[in-house]
Point group: none
Chain length 207, copies 4
C-alpha cells in the first residue's frame, strides 16, 4: 500500500529531487503561488508559466522538483487542505462517520471540491502525478476516517475484521462518482441517506 505518512522534505522517496536550503525556499514559493492560483481559477489557472511567474521560480527549476504541473498542484492542494476538516467527535461512532460523510459531501460541492475533482481527473492522464495526489492529499483524508473507524472498533461498534480501506471506498466512492458525473447534486440529505445505507452494511452489528 502507498504510504500514508506525511513525507518530510527530501524524505518522500520517488516524490522529490534536490535537497538543501535553496530547495526549501523553492518548495515554499512554488506551493504558495500554486495555492493562490488554485483558489483563484482552479487547476486550469495553475499553468506552469503562471506558477513560475508568480513564484519567481523558473520553469526549469520547477521541473527539477516535480514531474509535472499536476504533481505540483496535487502537493499544493494537499498542503492547503491539511488543516481543514477537523474530525467530528459526538461520542457516537456511527454519528461521527455520518457527519464525516456529510462534511466531505459539502466539501465536494464547494469551489475547492471542484479543484479536487479536477485534480482527480488530471491524475488519470498523468500517472506521474497520481502518487503526489495520493500521498499529499488522499492519505490525509484516509487517515482521518481511519481514526474514526478505529474508534468504532475500539467501542465494539465495528468489526476489526473489516478492512478500513473498504470502509473508505464505500463511504466516499459514491460521493465522488456523483461529483464527477454530475448526474445529481450533492446535498446533505443525500449524503446522510448514503451514509446510512452504507453503514448498515458496514456496521450491521450496531443495529
Amino acid at each position: 500500500m502507498w504510504s500514508t505518512k506525511e513525507p518530510g522534505a527530501g524524505g518522500d522517496g520517488i516524490l522529490s529531487h534536490p535537497t538543501g536550503p535553496r530547495s526549501d525556499r523553492i518548495h515554499a514559493q512554488v506551493l504558495a503561488a500554486t495555492q493562490e492560483l488554485l483558489d483563484e481559477g482552479g487547476l486550469p489557472a495553475a499553468t506552469v508559466d503562471a506558477i513560475a511567474q508568480r513564484s519567481g521560480v523558473s520553469k526549469a527549476t520547477i521541473y527539477k522538483h516535480w514531474p509535472s504541473r499536476t504533481a505540483v498542484a496535487a502537493k499544493a492542494f494537499g498542503h492547503m487542505m491539511a488543516e481543514e476538516l477537523p474530525l467530528p467527535d459526538t461520542g457516537n461512532s456511527r454519528d461521527d462517520l455520518t457527519e464525516q460523510v456529510r462534511r466531505v459531501s459539502t466539501f465536494y460541492a464547494s469551489p475547492r471540491g471542484e479543484v479536487f475533482a479536477q485534480l482527480l481527473a488530471a491524475c488519470v492522464d498523468d500517472p506521474a502525478a497520481a502518487p503526489y495526489f495520493r500521498v499529499y492529499f488522499l492519505a490525509g483524508r484516509r487517515e482521518a476516517v481511519t481514526t474514526l473507524w478505529q474508534r468504532a472498533v475500539d467501542r465494539g461498534d465495528a468489526s476489526p475484521d473489516t478492512d478500513v480501506d473498504d470502509v473508505i471506498d464505500i463511504l466516499f466512492g459514491p460521493l465522488i462518482f456523483r461529483r464527477l458525473t454530475g448526474h445529481y447534486d450533492l446535498t446533505d440529505e443525500h449524503a446522510e441517506k448514503l451514509a446510512r445505507t452504507a453503514l448498515d452494511g458496514l456496521m450491521r452489528s450496531t443495529v
Copy 2:
C-alpha cells in the same frame, strides 16, 4: 433526472444540431472513426484532427454537430459499449448483482476501462461533454443495474423504498474511486468483497 432512453437522431434535445440524411451519414462516419481511434490509443488519440481525417468529415462540420471532441468521444464510446456486458441471470438476485459488480470491475481494469476513466476525467473539465457521457454511456449502464434491482424487488429480496440511484452509486462508486486514484488494483476478490459489504447494507432483508 437526465433521460435514460437512447435519443433518436434529431430527437436528443440539446445534444445535437443539424438534422437530415446528410447528418446521418456524418454521425455514422464520425462515430465509427472515433471508435477506432479510442480502441487504438484511448482518448488522447481521438483528437479532432485525427477524427476528421479518418472519417472524411471536416473539423468545422464536427464542431457543428458536437460541442467538443470529448462529446464526440463520449457518444462514440457509448455506442461501442452498448452491446457489451449482457445481464447476469443466475436466478438469485444477490448473486446477479455481485456478478455485475465483478464484471464492471473487470471492465474498469481493461483497456476500454481506461478509456472510460479518461472520459470521466475529461468531462470534469468539459461541462458541455458531460451530458453526452451521461446520456450515451452512463444511462445504459444504470439501466442495466436498474433491471437487476427491479428483479430483486419483484422477488422480495429488496425493499421497493430503496432508491435505485443510491444502489448504483454505492455498488459502483467505490470501484470508480479505486480506478481513478489507482491506490489499489481492481481484482475479482476485491470486487466481491465490496459487493458483499454493500449489499449487506442494501439488501439486509435477505440475510
Copy 3:
C-alpha cells in the same frame, strides 16, 4: 485590348452567365447588398455569406452569375463609382488633367480608395475577377481621362501620336504605387507636383 464600353446584361462575353428577368432582379439585389457591405467594412466585409444573407440570393446562385466574390465586389464597386468624379473643365487642358490627378489622389486616400486598393490587390490572386475590375471600374476611369486627353489633342496641346494608355499609366501609376506601398501619404501638393512633372514629359509641346 480590353473593352472599355459598359457591357449590357448578358452582353459582356465571358463576364456573365444567365439572362432574363429573374437574372436582372438577382443582379440588382446582389450588387446593392455588396455595395452596402463594401461601404460598411471594405472588401473583407463582403464575404459571400454576407452578400447572400443580405441580398436574399443564395450562394449557389451567386456563383452561377459570378466566378468569385472578388468579381462580385469589383462589379458592385464599379457601379457605385460610376457617377462619381465628374470631369473637370477649366478650359485649359493641362489644368484639367492636373485637377483630375488631384481628385484621383484624394479618392485614393478616402475610405472608398481603400476599397479600390483592396480590390486591386484581390485581383492579383484572383485572375477570374480581374476582368470584372477592368471592365466595370477601370474602364470608366480610363474613359474619363481619354476624354480629357482628346480635348488636349483637339486643342493642339498634345500630340495625337501619344498613346492615351501611356498617359493614363504615367499620370496615375505613381499614385497607385504610393497608395499600395504606403511609403508616402497622398497629398494635394504631391499630386500636383507629380502631375506637373509627368505632363512636362507628356505635353512638352505646350511649354
Copy 4:
C-alpha cells in the same frame, strides 16, 4: 521617410522581437525555407504551416519573430532579391535609367515578379507586413535608382531640385499599375516608351 538601410539583427526597431544567437539560427532557417516556398509556389505556397515544417521552426516561434506570414515572406523576398539586378552603367545617365526600367519591367513579368505583385497585394490587407516589404525589399530597389539618379545629377543631366522619390514613382509606378491590373503585357518596347516619355518630363534639360 522610412529607413533604407538594411537593419542588422536586433537593430531594426519595430520589425523584430527576440535577439541573440538562437534567434539568428531561427531567422536564417525560416527565411531560407520561405524563399524556397516562394520560388516553388509563390506567396500562396508560403503558408505558416509550410514554413514551420520546412524550416523546423515552430509556428509559435515564427509568430514571436514576425507579425504575420506576409511579413516573413516580404523579408525573405527582400533577401533573395538583394543580389539581383546589378546597376546598368553605360556612361549615359538617360540610357542607364531606361535600361533600369526595362530590367524592372522584365522582372515584373517573370515568376518572381508575380511574387512581387502578390506581396504588394498582400500588404494592402496586412498593414503589419507593409513595413517589412518597404524596408527589406522596396528600400533596396529605391536605393539603386537613387544611385543612378545621383549620377545624372552629378553629370548635370538632371536637376538636383527634382525629388528622387518622385522620379522613382513616375518611372516605376506605371509598370506596377500594368502589372497589377493586367490590362497590358509588360514588353521591352512598352517599357522603353514609358521610360522615354517619363524621362522627357524628368530630364528635360537633356533634350
